[in-house]
Symmetry: C2
Subunit: 343 residues, 2 copies
């Protein structure tokens, strides 16, 4: 029997190049994994018009986790691959915890002056299956002066409470044990009130965790003026999308930004992918940095309960990045080899 | 006959202190303005339970503009004053252009390393009367496991097109003549499509203005990694709320952040106010920096067609700020006096 079944969706552009390195590194710490590669993304879409055929989705469902590279190509109209693949996996596989750690690693530089490696260390727990991402909305009187377009944010007690509980459980395991709720309760009064009440209820279950509330606009500002203040942040789908990109920016860009779209109960497979895109401009050249993909593999290992393996991979990537000479050219495969052989 | 009728709503905390300086400066460049002071904010709310009594609103409607200090106090539940006063003025007075310039002034320091004064100079034109701010939504099955809360974003062709046209007209008058549309078209497909089509249609009317589109998450990242790239940004109500706070953060915080909630047709009065809050911790001490309030007064003058006066006030504030010794204590009234006497 294999130790784990992992579906690999390299995807577009540099996606396949970086997942190859992530596989290499997983093999170095956890031999015996079964991989199945799926060719999804722009190529499949152009060939068949399909993004995620039902039989493929059914096969994916039989895996323990999905390792994803990057999806997206300028040749495909925006939204099609994102909604048809990434969001469909999040919704159909109930990946309600969208996990985005941000750390300022030694060897990386923050654009913020005076912020030193180690000082920023947070994880944003973004809701992944509700909010404005549900696609509820429509258009009336299109292309007339009377046109109206709507988007509806749907928030359930069920969906909000479970992601908040996940955030508190993570905070409980961290040094600072602090959770910040980010919303816009002064304007989005209905959803804000639900989030606030659910937050207060869950907080009562975790007396050792300290809490704080910030409006999304203030939180975005603090991400720049004082990102050190954040430990665990929990927020809705759209606010999380924005906040995690600011968090990535202040920790030196998306080069080290890993993410997981997680179904914590493991009823469905979770997806792990670097935050960066398919970078068509450098695709095929073997010069993409696989660090974020390998760190995403570490999140995958952690999700499968391989805590020690996950920690070792993360440390090996950190060491590799810290050892880089500033501005030196980088070969994708060599980075993967160095990290794998250090393990 | 007076040259202009300005309603002054000092509001809470440091609000009254900073608007007093803004009045002083307006008087120095434009003698003969008629002022009426209105005591709105936490005090009125506690005394009467009202936030904006209808007779007061009717009186405000008779003014050319409203100079506002700050609204908000910890003693009032969040949302009440914001929705009852600030948002009510924006909606009832059809202030659909929410104007937020961000500039890195000499004498101020960006938290971004290597970014020098003068390099960041943008204006965000945020829609002010639609989107998720309309308050459409509700709660079902409150306090049960079946609870659901919704928020609806409403976007009309009418509302979207007029604010985009305003943004292009502003860009046309600027050196770089560039407009960036920010939205999330890959996820918010209905509203995103309306915004994109309206943007393309208006762009065709301004052949000299170059354009660009960015998703809100990418734009938030660029605000940190490369804010220099922005000239005019046009976006919806909520994205604008977030982006302008990031823009303020990268230009050294809200100390110099001015704003206008503008009805360009001047059918209703427009509101001008600093982005900062009421700062209860330093209220009454005479140490609040009135720079943002005075810069807001400059936006007010510009709105009234007093372009030369507006420019002179802006330059005088810039000179005052540039002349400050780093870390030196500051007296609110002295800053106002210095700016006024320089004019
Ligand atoms: C590609 C897009 C649909 C996606 C999102 O908005 O969630 C991306 O920005 C992300 O953060 O994973
Ligand atoms: C106070 C609040 C309602 C307001 C907003 O969200 O618009 C504020 O954040 C602003 O930016 O003017």
């Amino acid at each position: 029997m294999s130790v784990a079944r992992i579906a690999v969706v390299g995807g577009d552009g540099i996606g396949t190049e970086v997942t190859a390195q992530a596989r290499k590194v997983i093999d170095a710490v956890l031999p015996g994994v079964d991989y199945n590669e799926y060719d999804l993304g722009a190529r499949l879409y152009h060939r068949t018009g399909e993004v995620l055929p039902q039989p493929v989705q059914d096969e994916l469902a039989g895996h323990d986790a999905i390792l994803l590279g990057a999806i997206g190509d300028p040749s495909v109209p925006p939204g099609i691959l994102e909604r048809g693949l990434l969001l469909r996996l999040r919704f159909d596989f109930d990946q309600y915890v969208n996990l985005r750690p941000s750390k300022l690693w030694p060897g990386t530089t923050s654009p913020l002056s005076g912020v030193k490696a180690g000082e920023i260390d947070m994880v944003v727990v973004r809701e992944g299956t509700e909010g404005l991402y549900v696609g509820a909305g429509g258009v009336l009187h299109k292309n007339t002066p009377a046109e109206i377009a709507t988007e509806e944010s749907l928030n359930t007690r069920h969906g909000v409470e479970r992601v908040i509980r996940d955030a508190f459980a993570r905070a409980q395991r961290r040094d600072r044990r602090h959770v910040t709720l980010v919303h816009k309760t002064n304007v989005l009064a209905h959803a804000g009130n639900l989030w606030s009440r659910a937050f207060a209820a869950v907080a009562a279950e975790f007396p050792e965790v300290t809490t704080e509330y910030q409006h999304i606009d203030a939180a975005s500002m603090f991400m720049v003026s004082n990102p050190q203040r954040f430990d665990v942040v929990v927020t809705d789908n759209l606010f999380g999308d924005i906040l995690t990109d600011i968090a990535a920016a202040v920790t030196g860009g998306i080069g080290m930004a890993a993410s997981g779209s997680v179904n914590p109960e493991r009823k469905y497979p979770s997806t792990f992918e670097p935050v960066h895109g398919s970078a068509p401009d450098i695709a095929g050249k073997g010069i993409a940095d696989p660090a974020a993909a390998i760190l995403s593999a570490a999140l995958l290992l952690e999700h499968l309960g391989k805590l020690d393996e996950a920690r070792r991979v993360t440390e090996a990537v950190a060491a590799e990045v810290a050892s880089r000479a500033p501005g030196a050219p980088l070969r994708t495969a060599e980075v993967g080899d160095r990290v794998a052989s250090a393990l």
